[in-house]
């Protein structure tokens, strides 16, 4: 008895390589592999020849040598004597910093605009769609440049804050908006641990207090659920939650003596406080408003995807409008909104590479810009640069896949 898995005995012909379903895909794959390997081999031999003729080689030794350039905005210690590798790390941290900040503000802006686009107020609806269309249809590069130009050309220089009759003044005497960046008060602890004012230990403790508050609030919500399940009446958790969030951190700050280092004009520039550089702000704002427009569209589509019937069914059951939103509409809308939201986060990270046009020292500007130009190690730098973005993207998309599959499981 011949079956699909047994070959007809003793009758193998060469034509079966293409005509037999058992061999066909193998044959095609072998052909594809041969083409792929020869194409790669051709490119590699070109590369080897070209490098040899130019007297170059591939080596990552330059990462260990001194970078020789300054970076004005750094999160870790860095000076021009530091290595190229450290410069790249400064760049990575700066990329992550601006991407993280932009993700948060873009989400807030996007959710806000997306919800308002569904408002029953005609004017607000039109205004929001104007915002969305304007920002979606103009290149982000132009937005970055425009906002950076506002930062540098419109904001007053520090010297305009000087003199008896200054042409510019600090906002509430706390913030200074200048063309070099924004100066904000910096918090520090007068009675902190670890001696110095800026000891990281204090901040970790503050974070721990907030995390504890988070779990406390979670516990209260759970307890409210338990009470509701047992008695049918949900206790009001608003005030207890507020207290759980605010009290511990306030007490913590009072004990350690939180104080603010307010920026003041010293000579021709501001001192004290925290300086957020103009390029960072321009990039951050541009990415936020640009991506916010896209997120607004996702949010609107997500809410609209929940059919009117769902709202009506919930209303017919007698659930009040506020609860309809949180119990019926949002859980369904989030399932639609979150996947594109995450890919917008990915877009923010990738678009942050445009930092190079405003001179913000992200990974593209350090490793792919100055280091590349100074060392001439084009291939190595570009490869490392791609590797970094690839790692970020794969991490985020893995997270997204995990989320999607967990959502799918709940569907069944």
């Amino acid at each position: 008895m011949s079956t699909l898995s047994d070959p007809p005995k003793g009758s193998f012909r060469l034509s079966m390589l293409l005509n037999d379903t058992r061999y066909r895909s193998m044959t095609l794959q072998v052909i594809a592999a041969i083409i792929l390997v020869s194409a790669l081999g051709y490119l590699y031999s070109n590369l080897a020849t070209n490098l040899r003729e130019a007297g170059l080689n591939i080596s990552f030794g330059f990462l260990g040598s001194s970078a020789g350039y300054d970076i004005n905005q750094t999160l870790i210690d860095y000076n021009s004597q530091s290595t190229n590798l450290r410069a790249a790390f400064v760049g990575i941290l700066n990329t992550l910093l601006v991407a993280f900040m932009a993700c948060i503000t873009a989400t807030i802006l996007g959710v806000f605009a997306g919800v308002l686009r569904l408002s029953n107020n005609w004017l607000v609806r039109k205004l929001m769609s104007f915002y969305v269309e304007i920002f979606r249809n103009i290149p982000v590069l132009i937005w970055i440049i425009i906002i950076f130009t506002i930062m540098t050309a419109v904001m007053p220089g520090p010297r305009e804050f000087r003199g008896d009759e200054p042409t510019a003044s600090m906002f509430m005497d706390l913030f200074a908006f200048t063309n070099r960046g924004v100066y904000t008060p910096a918090p520090y602890f007068t009675r902190g641990f670890g001696g110095g004012e800026g000891s990281a230990l204090n901040w970790l403790l503050a974070l721990a207090v907030l995390v504890a508050s988070f779990f406390g609030a979670r516990f209260m919500t759970k307890r409210a659920n338990v009470v509701q399940e047992a008695t049918g009446i949900r206790p009001n958790t608003l005030w207890t939650n507020l207290a759980i969030w605010l009290l511990p951190i306030t007490v913590f700050c009072l004990i350690l003596g939180l104080a603010w280092d307010i920026p003041v004009l010293k000579g021709f520039n501001f001192g004290g406080g925290i300086k957020i550089g103009g390029p960072l702000i321009a990039l951050w704002l541009a990415l936020s408003v640009y991506t916010g427009a896209f997120i607004a569209e996702n949010v609107r589509a997500g809410i609209q995807a929940v059919s009117q019937g769902q709202t009506e069914a919930a209303a017919a059951l007698g659930i009040r409008p506020r609860r309809v939103m949180s119990l019926v509409v949002l859980p369904q809308a989030l399932r639609v909104i979150i996947p594109p939201l995450i890919s917008q986060y990915l877009n923010i990270t990738k678009n942050s590479s445009l930092a190079i046009v405003v001179g913000y020292a992200d990974i593209t500007a350090t490793l792919g810009g100055i280091t590349l130009n100074q060392t001439g190690r084009a291939i190595e730098c570009v490869l490392l640069l791609m590797l970094f973005y690839l790692v970020i993207s794969l991490t985020i998309s893995t997270a997204m896949n995990v989320y999607n599959s967990s959502m799918k499981l709940k569907e069944r």
Binding site: S2, T3, L4, S5, P7, P8, M16, N19, D20, T21
Partner: protein, 255 residues
């Protein structure tokens, strides 16, 4: 008339299935299926959902792959040879539950597509054949419309005409009426009955027991991937032997 049709069965074997087995992963969907279909025979396959009846007829034109046993159609062994698969597919027509017409092509184009590209028929001739069969299923006037503009019953009749245009010697029907509104079932069944009277070899998965009584010369009952009972329609309906068949018939005829 139905009696007359039943006499046309010849001794020639159209389909021969021997000890055929199929698994989905570890799930054994078809177990030791043995089935011989003679030319001109009309077989109705019924059974509860998930009994493997659709899978069985989908194996016959290699839409599903079987793992053990043999299927021979018109003397061609269904093997892994693409040429054999192509040969069998062009000899065996199939109608689906959801019609599966090509929505981007007109009715006429739906019917001429396969004759032109598979049978290499000249376009003009293919169109003549198509119009012939569209007349046969009584919708020649819809030839230039798109499937989306037709009712379900009309679509299913187009699907039958589309298969017939390939001049198949065997027709497979996979629940052709179960996606239709009640008032449209009759027009499709009438077309199928007409086809049966012309002596077409048919394998039909359906729950239309009236159709089975009228045209089938064999009814097969499947359950859990096995052929449980097969008999001539009169005997099958009036005197089912297996308790599973009795239960099934009482459920579908009982109301």
């Amino acid at each position: 008339m139905a009696e007359a049709a039943k006499l046309q069965v010849s001794d020639e074997i159209a389909i021969s299935i021997q000890k055929m087995n199929k698994w989905y992963g570890t799930f054994h969907v078809l177990r030791d299926i043995d089935l011989t279909v003679h030319r001109g025979e009309r077989i109705v396959i019924c059974g509860p959902s998930g009994s493997g009846k659709s899978t069985l007829i989908r194996c016959i034109n290699a839409l599903e792959e079987h793992q053990k046993g043999s299927i021979e159609v018109d003397g061609t062994l269904l093997s892994s040879d693409l040429k054999n698969i192509d040969k069998i597919r062009s000899e065996v027509g199939m109608c689906f539950q959801h019609f599966n017409l090509f929505p981007h092509l007109t009715i006429l184009e739906n019917c001429t597509l396969a004759p032109i590209w598979v049978r290499k028929t000249p376009k003009k001739e293919a169109e003549e054949i198509a119009m012939h069969f569209l007349e046969k299923v009584k919708i020649p006037d819809q030839a230039d419309k798109y499937p989306g503009q037709l009712s379900g019953g009309q679509q299913q009749r187009v699907a039958i005409a589309r298969s017939l245009c390939m001049r198949p010697r065997i027709m497979l029907f996979d629940e052709p009426t179960s996606a239709l509104d009640p008032e449209m079932i009759k027009e499709v069944l009438d077309t199928m009955i007409e086809l049966a009277e012309e002596g077409m070899t048919m394998l039909c998965v359906t729950h239309e027991m009236g159709f089975a009584r009228q045209v089938a010369n064999r009814v097969i009952f499947m359950d859990q991937g096995q052929i449980v009972e097969q008999n001539e329609p009169e005997a099958f309906f009036n005197n089912p032997q297996s308790p599973r068949t009795q239960l099934f018939l009482s459920q579908i005829l009982g109301h």
